[in-house]
Structure formats: C-alpha cells, structure tokens
Symmetry: C2
Subunit: 299 residues, 2 copies
C-alpha cells in the first residue's frame, strides 16, 4: 500500500567532524521518501523553488517516488544550515531560509487522498492540520515534530498529536513537551492525548516504542564513525512506516519489527552525507542489516 | 562457584530528587556482593572502621556474604557524599572522606585464594594490582574503575585492564580513557589491551558488550522514577559476574545473558536508597524481571 508523506524538501549546508557540504539535497520529506521507497510506493507532497535542480528531482524519481504533489513555486528552495560538534545527537542550526516554504500550503492531489498510510513529517503544526483535513480516514497516521514548534506552539503540537495513531519524536522533545524527566512517564502523557503508540528516538542510544500495554527497546547500530546524522530521524520514520504499509499491518508485533527496519534505514543514512548512502541500497543490504540487529539484541 | 570481590564498603550521604539520606550503607563491594549473592556465594575483601554498625554487618551476613576478608581498622569507615540533579546518570561528588581506606591494603584470606571468579570493584588501580598478585590463576577476572583514576593514573588503569578478562566501565570513562567518541572504537582500543570482553554502561540507555567478534546491546528497563542511582553499576556487575559463576560459563552467549541479569539487578537497585530494595528480592522477582527484558527486546 502506498504511503503519503508531507514535509520539507531542502538544500542543506552541513558541517560535521567528517567535513562540510554546501547545498546538498535534504529535507524531512526527502529522507523519509527515499528510505520508505525500499518498502512501498511513496507519494510526496512538498514545495521547492524554481532553482531546484533536475539532478535532485531525478534522485527521487529513480527511487520511484511519485512527485505529482511536489509543487514548484516562484522563488528559491528552502535552505537549512546546521553543524554537529562533539554530540552527534543534536544539530546546531546555523541558519534557516524558509524561502518558498514561507507561503507553503500543502495541497493533496486527488490521487493521493486515499493513501492508507500517512506520515506528517516535521513541518509547522498548522500545516500538519491542513493535511489531516484533506485526507480520507487513513489506516495509520504517523507524525513527527521538532523542538521549535514545541517552543512556539505547544498547544498546536498537542492538537496534531491527538489526531495521530503513532507519534515519533526524540528524547529531548519528549521531555520538553511533557515536562517529565522519565521517558516512560513522558510517553504515558502523550498516550493520554490519543495516539495508540509513541516512539521516542534517542540517537546513538536507539529508540523506545510505547503503547498503553507494552514497551519495546531497539538499539542503534554501534558504528565506528557517523559521517552525517542529518535526516536520520526521517530515514527511521521512512523504514518504519514503509514496512508497516508493505505488510499492511499495525499490530504491536509488526510495530516492533517496523522500529527495527527504521533503525536499519537510519543506520545506513548516517554513513554518508545527504542521500548518498540511502539512494544506493539493495533489498539484500537491508535484510542483512536487519539480521545484524537480531544478532545485536538476542540473548 | 564462589566469587571474590575487592572494593569499598562505605557510608554514603546521598541527595536525589526523591530525597536525602545520611550515612546509609553503600560502597562498590557492598552493592556488588548483595546483587551477586542471589546467584552464588560471595567472598568480600574490604575495610571498615570501628564505627561500622552491627546492623550494616548483619545485612551482608543475611545475604550469606562471607566476611572473613572484611578488615576492621582503627578509625572511621570511608564516607562519600554525592548528589544527582537532572541527569540521573552522573553523580556530583560532594565530599570524599577516605578515613580507614587511606591505608587500606587488601589481604586475600587463604580460603579465598582459589576463587575462580573475581571482581575488582572500583578502588585505586595500584590496590587492584595488589589483589591480582595474591590470587591463583582464576577463570574470570572482571574489573571496574572510575573517572578519578583515569584522570590521575591512566597508565595504571591500563595496566590493570591488561590483566582483566572483562572490563566494565561507563560511556564517559570509555571516551576519557581512549579519546574516542565512538563507543565501538573505544571498545576496540580497550580490547587491544588484552581483555576478551568490554562492557560499556550507559545508565538509562542500557549497556553494550563487545568482544573482538560480536556486539550485544542491552536496554535499561524504562522506569517511572529512579529513586537513587548510587550503586547501579556495582549491582549490574554483581548480577553479571554472579550469573557467570553460577553457570560456570564464560562464552559469549552466557555473557549476553549475564549482561541482562546485570541489568535486572541494576533496575531493582535504583528503585530505593542504599540496599533497601536489593536486600529483599526473591529468585522469582529476578526471573520475572528477566522475562520483562525478553519482552522488551524481542521482535
């Protein structure tokens, strides 16, 4: 079953201990789509400017991402600059040039409206609500957010969360949104808002999935070197939602496996800048790494 | 098979968000012994002062810990004060009164010398070497250390590590001792010194076990509330070494399970101050929690 994603397509300028890259393809919807595309067809809704390059568009087309929902607006593509020093779990934002994103309002093409699996990538929560208003009742709606929106619009974030089946965010955001130090308590607070599940991402420490009854802990793959963590969270979501859509399942056992497929895709993503690693995987690469996670956790 | 532990017995003054306790029983060897005692007999070597109370001694006796190696010296028992604020993974040391510990030299009673499983709890690395000089070739020597010794005597710490079969320390110490940001790389550097295995503890994020060929990631149990993290690392080591000694095994599959038993004992320990929780467990409590770790990680 196909997946609808609404989020950002961006040109990133990124600096990590491994080097600096300027204006490389990025954005939450881009990373998500590329990771998800290994599991199931993806329908993308986002906006770019007239400067968006044919090469970058081709990358998504080669992954069979449907671009009927990719609006091209007069002006420049959204740009983000960030750097990682020491702690690879958190980016320092150097600049944000919204450009065409400033006036973006997601329009879901009619052909996308029956998507049964939906991912609301990190965009302004009001826009996430606009998406929800345009879609038929899907089987599974998964959403993400970021610290900026929790700072500026916590009530709007909570409103979005109340419409989600599964909410994915990171440990710092969980503590920020709920005021709870314990991640278990934070997840409990989120579950009270409505979602059936919560995934708290912890960067190099893995991720924890909570439902009202169960908890599942997934490690991150221990690595010699992280080249660029940008997009790891969106790649994680891409693997997670992609797996569920491919299997057509949303039970807790499937969610456990989905979290591992998410971790697999995130582990590939951080091995190189931009989508350099994520664009060139085989099904076998993915299955082999899934097995590594099994070996990493079984006792 | 019995386990020999050499470390500290202390009176701790601890402040956490859950409250403050003064002069409560603590110390690396104490926590280790109590946790280990659920698996196998423990022989303890440490020193206390003449002020060490009969109640505290009785607690260890009730857990069947052999105290033939507990020296009583003129003077006061070692005292440590620490507090936890916000980050429950790291204590701030408020004071350290070495007292009788200042002139401590471990003497291993003849009856202990054939212990096949040995744990060198966190004490000055020169003292750890004195222990190694007094014991016959044991089957498994496991050791711990702390940031203080890595700061003051990194070469001595490395010398101790070169004699160990398994080295247990935490993530900050791993980075401090090796200069590596990647825990996988840090573990690789430690393995080059000689040990067959390395366990890196990550507090609420669990622990990772490394050998030259394999990696095993264990989560920590997600909890609503941590009352007092003091002694969690030593309780972890107690469960780990105790399980291996009980089973009489040191292969990697047994090490995986041992890490989980360690995590089980640590998870009990943090539920209350001092040894209040750890002293009153049943075999069934421990097995049930082991099952919870299975449910937490299987996919």
């Amino acid at each position: 079953m196909s997946v609808l994603v609404v989020g950002s397509v961006a040109l990133d300028t990124v600096e990590t201990p491994a080097g600096k890259r300027e204006e490389i393809l990025g954005g939450s919807a881009t990373y998500f789509s590329c990771a998800c595309s290994y599991f199931t067809p993806v329908n993308l809704v986002a906006v770019v400017g007239e400067d968006f390059s044919p090469d970058d568009r081709r990358l998504l087309e080669e992954r069979d991402v449907d671009l009927a929902g990719l609006q091209v607006s007069p002006g420049k593509t959204f740009r983000w600059g960030g750097s990682y020093r020491g702690d690879m779990n958190e980016a320092r934002t150097d600049f944000t040039d919204l450009n065409v994103f400033e006036d973006f309002h997601p329009r879901i093409p009619p052909s996308y409206r029956e998507s049964e699996y939906v991912f609301l990538a990190n965009i302004e929560p009001g826009l996430q609500l606009e998406v929800l208003a345009q879609i038929e009742k899907p089987r599974l709606v998964v959403g993400d957010t970021m610290n900026l929106w929790i700072d500026l619009k916590p009530e709007r974030v909570r409103e979005v969360v109340s419409h989600l089946d599964l909410f994915i965010f990171n440990d710092a955001e969980a503590r920020q949104l709920t005021g709870e130090v314990s991640l278990k308590k934070a997840a409990g607070e989120i579950l009270k808002l409505g979602p059936k599940g919560v995934v708290i991402k912890k960067g190099e420490h893995g991720a924890i999935l909570f439902s009202r009854e169960e908890i599942f802990c997934a490690p991150a793959l221990p690595m010699d070197r992280i080249v660029d963590p940008t997009g790891a969270g969106d790649s994680f979501a891409g693997g997670l939602v992609g797996y569920l859509a491919r299997e057509g399942k949303t039970d807790f056992v499937s969610l456990r496996r989905a979290v591992i497929y998410g971790s697999v895709m995130a582990s590939f993503n951080v091995e190189d800048f931009s989508l350099n690693r994520l664009r060139n995987l085989s099904r076998d690469d993915i299955e082999k790494r899934y097995q590594r996670f099994q070996n990493l956790t079984s006792f």
